[in-house]
């Protein structure tokens, strides 16, 4: 129970960082933290007490396996996180080239 609470605390920190911080890179970091928290939450759901990894072996076949389904989903979600981060960094770099700052308030001031 407490492990889920800790995971959601990490998620809440990510949201907080996204809302409050004015710097573009800090927003990218906040989003990264949120992605990490959700990925961890899925795998926590699939964990089985002293289970082992869902890889079959020649010798001792099917043991007490962890749930493989969330692992398959989170492999996709990790790469989604990478794709979104790459796009965000590209746009942030481009904004930096135009406004010469990463700070939202200055950008709004310069935009007029």
């Amino acid at each position: 129970m407490t492990i889920y609470i800790l995971c959601l605390v990490l998620f809440a920190i990510g949201i907080y960082c996204l809302i409050v911080k004015r710097n573009l890179v800090k927003k990218i970091i906040g989003l990264g933290i949120m992605e990490y928290a959700v990925n961890l939450f899925f795998i926590l759901l699939g964990y089985r007490h002293n289970g082992n990894a869902p890889i079959l072996d020649k010798q001792f076949g099917v043991g007490n396996f962890v749930d493989p389904l969330p692992q398959a989903l989170i492999l996709t979600s990790i790469v989604i996180g990478l794709g979104v981060t790459a796009l965000m960094v590209a746009i942030a770099v481009r904004i930096y080239e135009k406004y010469n700052t990463f700070d939202i308030d200055e950008i709004r001031r310069l935009k007029g």
């Binding site: 998620f11 990510g14 949201i15 996204l18 573009l24 927003k27 989003l31 949120m34 992605e35 959700v38 939450f41 899925f42 759901l45 749930d67 389904l69 969330p70 989903l73 996709t76 979600s77 989604i80 794709g83 979104v84 796009l87 965000m88 746009i91 942030a92 481009r94 904004i95 135009k98 406004y99 950008i107 935009k111």
Partner: protein, 492 residues
Amino acid sequence: MLPIFVIIPLGCAFLIPLASKIRQGLGRILATFAAALLLFFSLKSIFWLNAGAKVYYLGGWRPPFGICMVLDGLAVLMLLVVNLVGFLALVYSWDYLKRYTSDNLYYTLFSLLLAGLNGVVISGDLFNLFVFLEITSIASYALVTFGTEAEELEASFKYLVLGSVASTLILLAIGFLFGHVSTLNMADIADTLRYSPAKYLLNFSLALFIMGFGLKTALVPFHAWLPDAHPAAPAPISAMLSGVVIKTIGVYALVRVVFNIIGFTQLASSIFIGLGIISMVAGALLTVGQWDFKRLLAYSSVTQIGYVIFAIGLGTPLGIVGGLLHLFNHSLFKSLLFFNSGSVEFSVGSRDLHKLGGLANSMPVTSATSLVASLSISGIPPFCGFWSKLIIIIAAFQANHIIGGVVCIVVSMVTLAAFLKVQKYAFIRKIETLASAVKEVPISMKISMLILAILCIGVGLFFNSFISTVIQPAAQVLLEGLNYTAKVLGKG
């Protein structure tokens, strides 16, 4: 053969970078051919359907095992919306892209956008819906910044941040549902939820879904990104965004999850109605004060989405029919209005209503089609907007929701006032300085605008036959709600 809706745009998206290396214009022809094929198949899919739902097992696995694709009344309606507006936007951008560089990147991203939208509509698996929703979002983030100007980049960054927050919230909601049910097929989830309901967890994931999809569809408390992102995008892209994207990944996904998986409870209905009314009122107030043509259209999108959500929230058969019809009509006249604003910007170069004027005689086609669109968005009788707003107002009064009905009427008055202002300033009033230099837009932009105007009038005139063929089966899917599982899994 359901997967063709995803194979065609995906294959074309992978081919365009190669094709454009061979010959420059090839990418454009390939993309338009793929969109035409998609439109043909989505029109054909209306007649494929005999009451039930067509289920396609991917990889040969039966539903709970693998992923399945489901085509039912609601999916047919959304396919029609997506591929119709998509094809016309592509035809429009044949000439519109003279203003932009490297158009093969544009056509690749556009085909990926179509692939994502079609993937969302026909997917029968919750996580698969999230993956294709993510493809649509990333493609639309990149397309909003297609002009790489300063304010486009800033608007797109805000849209990207809020869109990614929405996606993460949706993924967390899927996590909670998965934790409780540990299966991902939509029909299977609804089936297991019926036997082991966890009231509090369902309400919490419902709240997360509404926040996530509400952000994607720009309902009022979450609409901060829309008024910046839509005007910044190139005109065909803001037409796709307003007309199709916020409806498919927002309204359609929310409605599919709430009606067919979690079940449409009284709580959900009151939330929908509340959000709908707030969106209508706030959107209308913001629309009136605008002087930038595209920002005015973006704010009016918030109002119209408020109409749709309010109508579907009523839950009565008439309300749902009215909501879905308004969803279809809105995609028609809103994309037409964005095309008009794009043409005005294309030939005059500015979107500010103060500077525009007297374009009626120098741009006949654009002004005529924008007159048709403005009249239909404000619900004037012969046009399509009138019937959907009328049905929604009647449904509101039938469900004795007086406040809602009155709000609908007042808001449609305000919309009428706003769009008459647009007509007067942009097209009818005379100012000498501008009128002479302006010439009409090229042929491909005229064609798509004319087709949309004809459709607006057509749906307006033959509305009851249109309702019975397309809207009624879609409303039936929502009304049946949880026995969606019977159709997909084939058991009770």
